[in-house]
Symmetry: C2
Subunit: 342 residues, 2 copies
DNA sequence: GTGAAAGCGCTAACAG
DNA sequence: CTGTTAGCGCTTTCAC
């Protein structure tokens, strides 16, 4: 049978003192109020004896803060995000905060619903890797100056804190690397929804690199892979490239899922990487060191991203005044491995 | 400037009705109380207009349930657990629950602290992959019949719900597979803390398989890799095996981290897998399909584990009476890939 | 059909 | 040094 929970009142009653007193002791405000050591000890002993744990829900309601922050990403099982989650968890923990993690599956509506839900739950702040196309709803949801910081992706015209990487430049460097390896026609495999800023920026970087180095470009080189059918369509596209016996000999995968699909497709179709086709990916994940071949990838400074995001968020949480929105852009680093070097 | 939050009272006041009425409408209990359609509409319109969102914290306090469940694992960035987390998140979401995720780093004390913290936060239930050695503290913490289910690992003498896999048998099959491939001396790389039931059971499975098939065994074949120094010690151990030119030609890695370290070490030291040394791992992760070579691994039915765990947990949450503890043991499946087949 | 009032467990003025 | 009281925002019994 579930025992009734013990409350601060139980402690107070059984000690013949007031709730206030107990509350003060428990919250280490006893000294400040000059409560006698002996009374303090009595309280603590009783707390121990009855195994009392303050009800944080009640405390939160009273204090108007939940010591919880919400983390919204497209999919927490994506290693890129789970690594982030862990980092953020640790940083939050240090400040006495916990994390409610939610996955959106890139679903715009779901994301909006989740934000509302988390606000309803009174989370003190939000860290969001958003899939929104437009800023209207988000601006509306956050117009009450709700502490929040957007990571990874930017939303046009959204007035918010951002911590992102220079996706354009990261992509530029990746493509430039392929060019330096002697490749001319380079295909880019983008992932839908293509409106996502990271993807869009990477495409821009790709285009600019190709243009700057006066390499061949035509529309067929930029293919869009639907995110709910990655495997099959990557395979189809690779086959197309391979069969065409065209001069397309290198692929720039715009995220880790695509690169993995390329690897799998290549394996199935006996296409050799990098011998037949070279491969470079955005997003460095652990697995890329171990795959066959290991994959050249644009690494994002995960820890730094999280550090900044958490710092900004807590700053907003603590200083509830209207603060200037920050936009931090970090640099990526190209990690060269076997998939792009003959 | 942060706007004051709008409460149920604001709705009531501005409509000239009582909080009760508003509450009833909002919680879809209007029909039951025969509240006129027209009043209902007025309420909903006002809710819309003021953009009112009920304060879940207050509701939870009143109702004595938070609609939150706590998930405790050793490290949420481990793909094994992040996949689980995602699955559990989805199942919980369907029931209107959210997840607070916490990582313990296998730290016994931290785990205990986290459980207390989550109880203090009034989470309605707990799903735990525990690192405890003994059951005393856990039994004490859960003696109030707190809804909870333990996954992945068992704690001796802990009276609790469990959902686990048959680790002994999984390991047995993995080792038997190596034996069938013609290997005699098979090393097992266990990970500390070795008291964890999963690891212990896998060791038992390993030992039994070796014994049943009358293969060579001596203590040096069972090595313990400290979990905070996996990479270096795996490398050392592999070197030892390789240098010894002994007949040890196969390694059974007791979890995915170890297997990955083996792969990396092999790569660095130019040891060929499976040619020089064969490798089989427990825990199948996505990366194992793509590594070089692909890794033979014991797959756990993740989705099933989560389904059972969530179902049991919600059953306990709903029926607060003392229920018989359940222990579900699921079967693993050996996925044979290149790392163990010449 | 609707409202008044109590109370979930806690903290913080304010009093003495 | 300690206690009284009000109230965070909500649900629910009971009354009209």
């Amino acid at each position: 049978m579930t025992k009734k929970k013990v409350s601060i009142d139980d402690i107070a009653k059984s000690l013949g003192v007031s709730k206030t007193l107990v509350s003060l002791v428990i919250n280490s405000k006893a000294e400040k109020h000059g409560i006698s050591k002996i009374t303090q000890k009595k309280v603590w002993d009783k707390v121990e004896e009855l195994n009392y744990k303050p009800n944080m829900m009640a405390r939160s309601l009273r204090l108007g803060k939940s010591n919880t922050i919400g983390l919204i990403v497209s999919d927490i099982s994506n290693p890129f995000y789970s690594k982030m989650a862990r980092q953020i968890e640790d940083l939050a923990q240090k400040k006495g905060y916990n994390l409610i993690i939610c996955s959106t599956d890139e679903n715009i509506e779901k994301e909006l619903t989740l934000i509302k839900m988390l606000k309803g739950r009174q989370v003190d702040g939000l860290i969001i890797s958003s899939s929104q196309k437009k800023s209207e709803e988000l601006n509306a949801l956050l117009k009450d100056n709700y502490p929040s910081v957007f990571i990874d992706r930017c939303i046009p015209r959204l007035k918010a804190n951002y911590v992102t990487v220079d996706n354009t430049r990261g992509a530029y460097e990746a493509v430039e690397h392929l060019i330096q390896q002697g490749y001319d026609k380079i295909a880019a495999f983008a992932i839908s929804p293509i409106h996502v800023s990271t993807i869009n920026d990477r495409i821009q970087g790709y285009l600019r690199a190709v243009k700057d180095h006066e390499k061949t470009y035509n529309n067929s080189l930029l293919v869009e892979i639907p995110f709910n059918n990655i495997k099959a369509s990557v395979k189809k596209e690779m086959k197309k490239i391979h069969d065409a016996k065209e001069s397309v000999r290198a692929i720039f995968a715009l995220n880790n899922h695509i690169a993995i699909a390329c690897l799998e497709a290549a394996q199935e179709m006996k296409i050799r990487i990098p011998d037949d086709i070279a491969l470079v990916s955005f997003d460095d994940i652990d697995a890329f060191r171990l795959t066959s071949p290991s994959v050249t990838a644009v690494m994002q400074p995960l820890d730094e991203i999280c550090d900044h995001a958490v710092k900004i968020l807590f700053h907003e949480i603590t200083n509830k005044t209207e603060l200037e929105k920050k936009h931090i852009v970090l640099q990526t680093r190209l990690v060269i491995r076997r998939s792009s070097v003959l």
